[in-house]
């Protein structure tokens, strides 16, 4: 059964025939012809050649014909912009038709014609339609503003349509309000800071009134908009909640979830002892449960959001565990999400039920799901202490099934259980050892080796077991190799007499035969530790490990708060802040939950949540122990003098490596971070590296512009760039922002430390990695008082340039480690090279001349500086403020040539010639010569353009 028999008819000949029919005098024939054209168009045939003929049919009283012509126009106007102008008159006329439906149709169609020329003509009719007496026309016009904005944003702003749109929020008709909100929200997305949706109690009231009467889609727009509002007090918050609650019973799940978002956010402001607060909590559970009986795609989105909600307010769903039980025919993506939530809801009260379910899942068919179920059992053990024993016995049961992947997965989680409850379940080790041969996945092998190493003193044949792994050392993955190395060293420290040979074997395998730098470095560290100070080695390698906790897989509280504000959005599905992935919205403001009523006692805010209340327990990450190492060495940061003489047994390689003392350790840390393991941690705790060195894009404009921008002030001035070096999300709540500056000859790193976590931070210390100019802290970090939650403290850290040197990429990159009582964090930043120009950088004229000639051409670079509106004298005096000294000035053919010199802290001289043409804003720094004095060998040729670009400033 076919709608149209024309599909096959339209060929070139047919086009001519249609053309003739379209131009026919008979109305009926015309109409039939247009229909045929549309039929061909909808099935994708090209009938654009008929454009003028079809447009000619537009002026008609026949509504059906008009609609068909409009359909045609929307499709082809883009390809025939000049022709499209022909249609404008009819549109303008239709916009004044007595029938509101025709007016609306015209304005709607006009907005869909994405042709620049047409948009100009659209403005007047649109303005009229926005103020039309009929709500249907106003509502259509509101959307049209969004369309127009998409085509030509500037035009919309110039024509003042945005203000008209804002007025429509107060319209008497709910549909108009909803569409105005929708249009504004869409426009606001491309203008993150425009404050288009300026919400005040009056508009909120309008929105809430409209909410009850508009369509389901309109309700979504309005609810999402409401969620951006911050009520003035708890009373207003409660009244909004009361008016939003009925939306929880809507059949459209998107409406329900948007309502949940508003309630979750505004609940924060309600006092916990209020009766209404409890009522609201109870009301939230049923709609969330209902979402789970919808189609699987809806379930998935709902589950991702429920995952956030249970982390923030576990009490809402704590009695609803059973709805998350996995059904046989759920799609896999729903199964995995349900499993995750089950663990989050697991508590002492329901753990028996949960375990029985998980055990059931572990016998299902789907391998991925089974693995995750086994892991989940381990997570239960870690989360609910009382259940640990039962979990272990369940895991042992599963190991007995001998299903290969189940066994491997079980061993990996048992290792985690050992980490949480050391010295408690060693009795199971024997069973584990029985399955040694069946392990073929690196993670499981690494876990097993870790267990053997950790409990070497209780396993009689530990040396034999480890030796058996050693045979195929080179075929193992890095993870296993690292683990094996650590395990054997542990074994040696525990039973030194019998295992000397073994340890030597593994150290030589790791250091000589391996080309993996991570493995080699760890090998050297152990070797050196063992040969210099076995006692220290014992302290380091066998140090007590911090316990792991359930927190490991919780979302970091500040991120969680932000995500709660984004319930129902893509951000909530990805569990990432919108700024992390939404294109073109880098300026998106981070949303925060409002504080509770009487927010003086701010630590109390999340007390009901339980999540944020818990102290940030130690979370395992690599560098636990290296952090301690750092700590040991941190007190005299500048005196990282020559390393202790290497013992006789040491190889040259080792010496080289450790030559830098502490710094190489820091360097190693970075390396380790990248490769996912470090000696203390041992590979394979499954935790992803939590403290990766953060890198930031270098300042785009380079140093030059700032210096010129600085106005007349003297010296290298106040803040150049205050950058956020370490965002709170990456550092368990510690945020570090700051800038580098040179003040009175002293280089300073000026930092603001902000505590965004819930607990107090103390014991701050700082350390730099080796860097290109030997920057190092000139003293300890002066943070004397503990930093409380939401407090921030400003510190200026003087820097010296006598630290160890290593060339960085980019040259001005500085890697920093900051430690506090919680953890060690790493970040990297870039400093403006101008802060390294010293005050005595003025070269004698003769010396300058001679040096200039001496320098080989290789050391020369040229570039242009654009858009600099200063004459040569002003430039010269400004540059002097930054220790760039003008030695001589020449004027040749209207060009000013400035000869300049500057000296870096490491004694390198940079000479420059600056060519300024009066009236031309572009400077040419035509030649720059560098002369090495002092430290040589460090600076490679790429220092040149770099140093220069900054220096030219």
């Amino acid at each position: 059964m076919c709608d149209f028999p024309f599909f096959s008819l339209v060929c070139t000949g047919e086009i001519f025939e249609l053309k003739a029919e379209l131009n026919s005098d008979k109305k009926e024939k015309k109409k039939e012809a247009v229909k045929k054209v549309i039929a061909s168009m909808t099935v994708g045939k090209d009938v654009s050649a008929l454009f003028p003929d079809v447009v000619n049919c537009m002026q008609t009283d026949n509504l059906e014909l008009k609609k068909l012509v409009y359909l045609y126009l929307m499709n082809y106007a883009k390809s025939q912009p000049d022709m499209a102008i022909m249609a404008v008159n009819t549109f303008v006329k239709d916009c004044e038709d007595p029938n509101p439906l025709i007016r609306a149709l015209a304005v709607r169609t006009m907005g869909c014609i994405r042709v620049d020329k047409i948009t100009e003509y659209l403005c007047e009719p649109l303005r009229k339609c926005l103020k039309d007496e009929d709500p249907y026309v106003r509502k259509t016009a509101a959307v049209c503003v969004a369309k127009l904005h998409d085509i030509n944003a500037q035009l919309v702003e110039d024509q003042g349509f945005l203000d008209t749109l804002k007025d429509l929020i107060s319209d008497s008709n709910p549909m108009v309000v909803a569409n105005a909100v929708a249009a504004l929200s869409e426009i606001a997305e491309s203008h993150p800071n425009s404050n288009l949706l300026d919400l005040n109690p009056q508009t909120i009231n309008k929105l809430l009134t409209a909410l009850n009467e508009c369509t389901e889609w309109g309700q979504i727009f309005i609810l999402d908009c409401l969620a951006n509002y911050t009520p003035r007090d708890d009373r207003e918050s409660q009244s909004i909640c009361e008016r939003v609650t009925p939306r929880l019973s809507h059949a459209n799940s998107a409406v329900v979830l948007s309502a949940v978002k508003v309630l979750m956010k505004f609940m924060e402001m309600l006092p916990k002892d209020l009766d209404y607060y409890g009522t609201l909590l109870k009301k939230l559970a049923p709609p969330l449960v209902t979402l789970l009986s919808a189609e699987p795609e809806l379930q998935y989105v709902a589950l991702r959001n429920i995952n956030l909600i249970v982390q923030r307010r576990p009490e809402i769903l704590k009695h609803e565990m059973k709805v998350f039980f996995v059904k046989y025919n759920d799609p896999i993506y729903v199964k995995l999400e349900k499993l995750d939530i089950m663990i989050r809801l697991a508590s002492q009260a329901n753990i028996a039920q949960v375990l029985a379910e998980l055990k059931e899942y572990a016998t299902e068919v789907d391998v991925d799901f089974v693995r995750k179920a086994v892991r989940a059992i381990g997570r239960c053990a870690i989360k609910v202490e009382q259940s640990a024993e039962r979990c272990v016995s369940t895991l042992l049961d599963l190991i007995q099934t001998k299903v290969n992947y189940v066994v491997q997965e079980a061993i990996v989680v048992i290792k985690d259980i050992f980490r949480k409850y050391p010295n408690k379940y060693e009795s199971v080790i024997a069973t584990l050892c029985e399955n040694l041969d069946s392990l073929d996945e690196p993670e499981a092998r690494a876990a097993m080796i870790w267990i053997v190493g950790e409990y070497a003193e209780r396993i009689d044949n530990a040396d034999e077991l480890l030796e058996s792994f050693l045979e195929g050392f080179h075929d193992e993955s890095t993870q296993v190799q690292l683990q094996l190395l650590t395990a054997i060293v542990k074994l040696f420290l525990k039973k030194p007499t019998e295992t000397q040979e073994l340890v030597q074997q593994v150290l030589s395998l790791a250091t000589q035969d391996s080309d993996n730098p991570d493995l080699r470095d760890r090998g050297y560290i152990y070797w050196r530790l063992l040969s210099t100070d076995p006692v220290a080695a014992k302290e380091v390698v066998l140090a007590e490990k911090p316990l792991i906790s359930e927190e490991t897989d919780l979302i970091e509280p500040t991120l969680l708060e932000e995500l709660i504000c984004h319930i129902g959005t893509l951000a909530s599905v990805y569990h990432k802040p919108p700024s992390a992935f939404v294109e073109g919205s880098r300026g998106v403001q981070h949303k925060r939950l409002p504080g509770s009523a009487g927010s003086a006692d701010s630590p109390d805010t999340g007390s009901a949540a339980g999540v944020s209340e818990a102290p940030p327990a130690v979370i395992p990450s690599q560098g636990d122990l290296l952090g301690d190492l750092l700590n040991l060495d941190l007190t005299p940061p500048t005196t990282s003098g020559p390393p202790p003489a290497p013992s006789s047994g040491m190889q040259m390689g080792a010496m080289d490596l450790l030559g830098g003392g502490l710094d190489s350790l820091v360097g190693l840390l970075h390396l380790g971070g990248d490769l996912g393991g470090s000696p203390a941690m041992g590979a394979g705790f499954g935790a992803p590296p939590t403290a990766m060195p953060a890198s930031f894009p270098p300042p785009v404009s380079g140093g030059l512009d700032d210096l010129f921008d600085l106005g007349g002030s003297v010296g290298i001035t106040d803040l150049v760039y205050v950058q956020i070096w370490l965002p709170a999300m990456k550092a368990k709540g510690l945020e570090i922002s700051g800038t580098f500056a040179r003040r009175a000859g002293v280089i300073q790193m000026e930092m603001t430390l902000t505590n965004k976590a819930m607990s107090i931070m103390t014991d701050f210390a700082i350390q730099f990695n080796r860097n290109s100019f030997g920057l190092a802290p000139a003293g300890p970090l002066q943070v004397l008082t503990p930093v409380g939650p939401n407090q921030s403290i400003e510190v200026a850290l003087p820097l010296s340039t006598v630290g160890p040197v290593m060339k960085m990429e980019p040259l001005t990159n500085l890697q920093v480690a900051v430690k506090n009582n919680i953890d060690v964090f790493y970040f990297s930043s870039q400093y403006p090279i101008s802060m390294l120009f010293v005050e005595d950088g003025k070269m004698e004229r003769q010396v300058f001349l001679a040096t200039w000639k001496d320098i080989p051409n290789d050391n020369e670079a040229q570039f242009q500086i654009k858009d600099c509106h200063l004459n040569s004298d002003a430039a010269s005096s400004k540059l002097q403020g930054s220790n760039v000294f003008t030695i001589a000035k020449r004027t040749v053919e209207g060009q000013d040539m400035l000869y300049q010199s500057m000296k870096l802290t490491n004694g390198i001289w940079v000479l420059a010639e600056l060519r300024v043409q009066a009236g031309n804003p572009n400077y040419t720094v035509s030649t720059v010569h560098v002369r090495y004095i002092g430290l040589t060998g460090l600076v490679s040729s790429d220092l040149l353009p770099h140093a220069d670009r900054r220096a030219a400033a």
Partner: protein, 418 residues
């Protein structure tokens, strides 16, 4: 908002595309095909995918993927709900939602999509508004269209969109005025080996078919509205009256619609109508196993259980089944390893039993995974939660309509673990 829509069949061909803003090339679907490949089963494709410049949100209905492309932050549920609405509309118009039907009616579908979204914002999604503008095909009309080349674009405008009750058109006229309500309940349950209920809940829905002249205002009340604490309504229901009086007061849409959904989860209210005694075991030695299943009535409230059917997904190693059924017939599909036992009516005097041996592949180890049993059943004239409609009143019109209520209980996701 929603940028583009692609309809993709199960073999991965894009057979219809629609763009509401600028055109986005088909190549964006490659990311989807990649995910589709990885997921193996079409049901398992993740509904939300991220690509470098777009987000892809898809649903899987009737062996078709409805894939929408969005560019900015749009609530995913909004998109998924809308896609389901598109599928519902197609189903409503053409009786089914399949590739063949869409291809046959491609012009109508295209016109529908045009009316449903404007610039990515939902415009007219109510079935009665759409039907006013774009007439659904009837056999007569398609014959006439074939002969005359007429289109389906109506010469009327969506007057319904101007009214305060957008879901109902004005000027409805019937010679027979009737209002039927079907209370349909589905039992979702998981029973463990021993027959204990691990989890059970009821998903209820009231489907209405209302053909009434004019603008009737209906009130539906229940004998026991207390049962309903978790409900979601069609937009026509006045929520305030429900909150204060526990009655459903509404001006109904014309024709078929879902009046409300509800959800009963408290354990003691969910009756399990049948019990299943089963044992499926495989021997350590020899390539065979044994199967024995008996089904009997449990809490049926005196009604007959009909349409009883058991579906078992057997482990891969099971080659064949040699069974005897005391009632009904069984089939074992070798390719999909699905055993289906179609029983029919449950006779409490003579319980149906399926018994016999299974042959497994020689040389393979005993299957590790336990198959689970999915049960299908139907009970007429019973809402298992005990929900009952007490009366239906009509205001605003003078005639006497014909009224009727039907009840039906079905098994939803009802599974028994072994």
């Amino acid at each position: 908002m929603i940028h583009s829509l692609f309809l993709i069949n199960h073999t991965g061909d894009i057979f219809l595309e629609k763009h509401w803003k600028s055109v986005i090339g088909r190549s964006v679907c490659d990311y989807f095909f990649e995910a589709r490949e990885k997921a193996v089963e079409p049901e398992n494709v993740p509904p939300v995918l991220q690509t470098p410049h777009h987000y892809l949100i898809s649903i899987y209905r009737g062996k078709l993927f409805f894939l929408s492309v969005i560019q900015t932050e749009v609530p995913p549920l909004f998109v998924i709900e809308f896609l389901h609405r598109v599928a519902d509309t197609i189903q409503d118009y053409f009786g089914e939602c399949s590739e063949g039907v869409i291809k046959d009616n491609v012009v109508t579908v295209y016109e529908l999509l045009e009316e449903m979204l404007d610039n990515g914002f939902p415009l007219a999604t109510e079935s009665n508004v759409l039907k006013e503008m774009i007439r659904p095909p009837t056999i007569l009309r398609s014959v006439v269209n074939t002969l005359t080349g007429a289109s389906n674009v109506g010469d009327t405008l969506p007057t319904g969109q101007l009214s305060n009750v957008p879901w109902r058109r004005v000027g409805v006229k019937y010679t027979n005025n009737e209002a039927y309500f079907d209370v349909i309940e589905e039992i979702d349950a998981i029973l463990d080996k021993s027959g204990t209920t691990v989890f059970a809940e009821i998903q209820g829905v009231i489907e209405a078919c209302v053909r009434l002249t004019g603008m009737p205002d209906l009130t539906l009340s229940f004998m026991n509205p207390r049962l309903l604490d978790d409900v979601s309504f069609h937009p026509c229901v006045r929520f305030k009256r429900w909150e204060s009086e526990r009655v459903l007061s509404f001006i109904p849409p014309d024709g078929n619609f879902t009046l409300m959904n509800y959800h009963v989860s408290s354990q003691n209210l969910v009756a399990i109508p049948v019990y299943v005694k089963q044992s499926i075991s495989f021997f350590e030695t020899g390539p065979c196993g044994r199967l024995d299943i008996t089904i009997g009535p449990k809490q049926t409230m005196g009604k007959t259980v009909e349409g009883l059917m058991v579906t078992i997904h057997m482990p891969k190693a099971v080659l064949s089944a040699n069974l005897t059924a005391t009632q009904g017939t069984y089939t074992y599909d070798l390719a999909t390893k699905v055993l289906v036992w179609d029983i029919g009516k449950l006779n409490p005097q003579k319980l149906p039993n399926l018994k016999g041996s299974l042959t497994t592949q020689a040389g393979t180890p005993k299957p590790e995974d336990n198959p689970s049993l999915n049960i299908d059943l139907k009970i007429q004239q019973l809402a298992i939660s005990g929900l009952k409609v007490s009366r239906l009143d009509m205001y605003g019109e003078k005639y006497k309509p014909f009224k009727g209520v039907k009840y039906l209980t079905k098994a939803g996701k009802f599974q028994v673990r072994t």
